[in-house]
Symmetry: C2
Subunit: 406 residues, 2 copies
């Protein structure tokens, strides 16, 4: 039985970033960059006005704080247009935010500090401005050829905007890993079947398929296998064509027993057989001769969920070029109680909310153990308790692993 | 100029949940339930073993703590199978976790407390168990007809698992709102064009398209409009066929000036014209005669981003049946400084990390004002500062709005 952090290290040692593909920028949301993005132009690409107002020669208005200065209006420059000639001494040009500063000008006076003459041909300037005032020089934010996004960046909306600014219409990203889902268990029936006798419905197929999507990977659900060795072996061989395979045992001991044997028959190398976590102890991690990572997860939904968050999600991140440290716990105040732990690290489903002072409150959910698929479903966090902990009561601080936006 | 919370209220008063559709459960990730889900069966659907071991009559083993009791093995029940006959006095049946308790039995002894005879025909029981021990009675977690997920639930992986358990192969959810994106500005060129002269590339199209996807809505990008009234009017009319329309002005004053006029020509009702936030003051919220919500956002990317998070995201949530309170700030320790504020609430792009004690640390990003598309791109949070704040220094607590998983 090994600890979670050690298991995390073992898993990351045995998976590696997958192939890369070029995708259109519009399809790159949450993809991970395989190559850095460089800006192909200076940004801004020209000396740019930061304000609506008048482009001036700063020396012409040096005394405007003491006595207003009148300048001739020599033109108008909207964003997207350019001055038709340089600015001469004694002149100003109307300019909009984002428009290029005309040659000859070196500063902008804000419109609020000016007064347009009734004729519209001249403007009274009431404020002095130094050279460069309200002008963003060409290349101020980035110069052509500079790296703006490094390999390994997960493309959020603002980073996609940066790529667009820099001309990256196609970007090289890691391909979404394909993850096969193989649910086993003679007791399971499909969601659209009414269970009779000893049957229950298969929910793990849906939970794993959804979790894989949230990890920005592509699930491939295989036909469910009964507790039968030959079917299991063929299914594992099929699943091993993907980069990863998640197997969940039914809850039957028998079924779970022969997963390691069948994996061995398939030539798999076993790396982890038991994890010191609660729920979720029986977790297998193995690699197939072709390199596929195999995770055999417990049959009960919450146990499978916890094991996925702790081991499968980091593996899928690594396959996308994002090696990740074990997720850190965030401090929250306990509203309720958690029980003492023994030899395993406990992950207790909880609902985290924000109090009026901005503190996090963690309320353990009334989850009635591993057979209960309902009590934990609204969890947005897991309270983490180390082995040998004394438990915690109302008002004490605990560490939580956030699963979703709070 | 109105405050953010007031603006939030105004927006939610003018949008409403959209049409509902039935989708296959496998496509419901992050969709919002329009109708509750009821469980069609008792769960568990039979008296179920919680352990691997032996099903027994508790009275037969009442003295097993003092003196071991030997029982005849009358059969084996794997998960997915049933006992072929009732259990008689003096008998035990091997049973796996998840299998149905045979009639006649009322408890399970764990395999660890037993010893199988060499013959395989009898078992020595070393522990007494009371009636019901290690048995989950039929309907313990939910009884048939009970609501397990309420309308308004956002379907996370575990909730999709609950729906599967309860037979909800199709679920009624709110349709993803369609959101038109209309970028205006004569200075803008496409990402695959090299800007010349006064041009810059259009990044807002990509930022808005991505943000809309993260809000589980469907973006429809319209052709970019120059700073031209007629084109703008036609584009607004096209966009108004969607449930919402996001317009970003170029940065030109002229363009932004006539958005309200053109909206009025289209029969729109204006609700908000200016928001007391920094960045992002010029934000328009209007509704079209057909009901579409129109958001005109500032041209600079970070301002558009902030306004989206504060007003558009809540509107899109409401359209999906999830009216949301203004997002609460979470307390974090400042690593760096933030400047005093004046009359507007400030949202400062920041990177939030977790320290070794589980506290949140917020580091303001070196973002150089509204013209800088690069400095804020790695933000995963916004530090919120109320109007009239004195600023904050290193080590002080601030409130942050989390944008992404920390």
């Amino acid at each position: 039985m090994i600890d979670v952090d050690e298991a995390h290290t073992i898993v990351l040692e045995h998976v590696r970033p997958g192939p890369t593909i070029d995708v259109a920028l519009g399809n790159a949301l949450y993809a991970t960059l395989a190559e850095p993005i460089l800006c192909d132009v200076d940004y801004p690409p020209f000396d740019r006005s930061l304000m609506d107002g008048y482009a001036v020669r700063s020396r012409d208005v040096a005394a405007a704080d003491r006595a207003p200065v009148t300048l001739e209006i020599a033109g108008q420059i909207a964003a997207g247009s350019e001055a038709i000639r340089p600015l001469e001494a004694g002149e100003a040009m109307q300019i909009n935010t984002g428009a290029p500063i005309p040659s000859g000008a070196d500063a902008v006076v804000r419109v609020e500090e000016t007064e347009l003459a009734a004729s519209g041909k001249s403007v009274v300037i009431r404020a002095a401005v130094g050279p460069g005032k309200f002008v963003t020089p060409r290349g101020e934010y980035v110069s052509a050829g500079r790296t703006v996004l490094t390999a390994g960046t997960v493309m959020t909306p603002l980073e996609i905007g940066v790529a667009a600014t820099c001309g990256a219409s196609m970007v090289s990203v890691f391909r979404r890993p394909r993850v096969a889902v193989l649910v086993t268990g003679d007791e399971l029936v499909d969601v659209d079947t009414t269970p009779v006798g000893p049957q229950i419905r298969d929910s793990n197929r849906y939970i794993l398929e959804s979790l894989i999507k949230t990890a920005h990977a592509s699930p491939e659900v295989l036909p469910r296998a009964g507790d039968d060795r030959d079917t299991l072996r063929r299914s594992i061989e099929t699943g091993a064509r993907c980069e990863a395979l998640c197997i969940t045992g039914g809850v039957s001991m028998g079924a779970f027993d022969f997963v390691p044997e069948v994996l061995a028959e398939c030539g798999a190398t076993m790396h982890i057989r038991k994890l010191a976590i609660k729920p979720g102890r029986p977790v297998i991690f193995a690699t197939m001769p072709g390199g596929a990572a195999v995770f055999a997860l417990p049959g009960n939904p919450l146990s499978a969920f916890v094991a996925f968050e702790l081991l499968v999600r980091p593996a899928l991140a690594m396959m996308q070029g994002r090696p990740t440290a074990p997720r850190s716990g965030v401090r929250a105040m306990l509203s309720g109680r958690v029980a003492p732990t023994r030899d395993r690290r406990a992950f207790i489903p909880a609902r985290v909310t924000i109090d009026k002072d901005g503190g996090l409150i963690a309320e353990p959910l009334s989850w009635r153990g591993s057979g209960d698929p309902f009590g934990a479903a609204t969890a947005n966090a897991l309270i983490v308790q180390p082995p040998g902990a004394h438990g915690a009561s109302n008002g004490e601080h605990v560490l939580v692993m956030l699963l979703d936006r709070v």
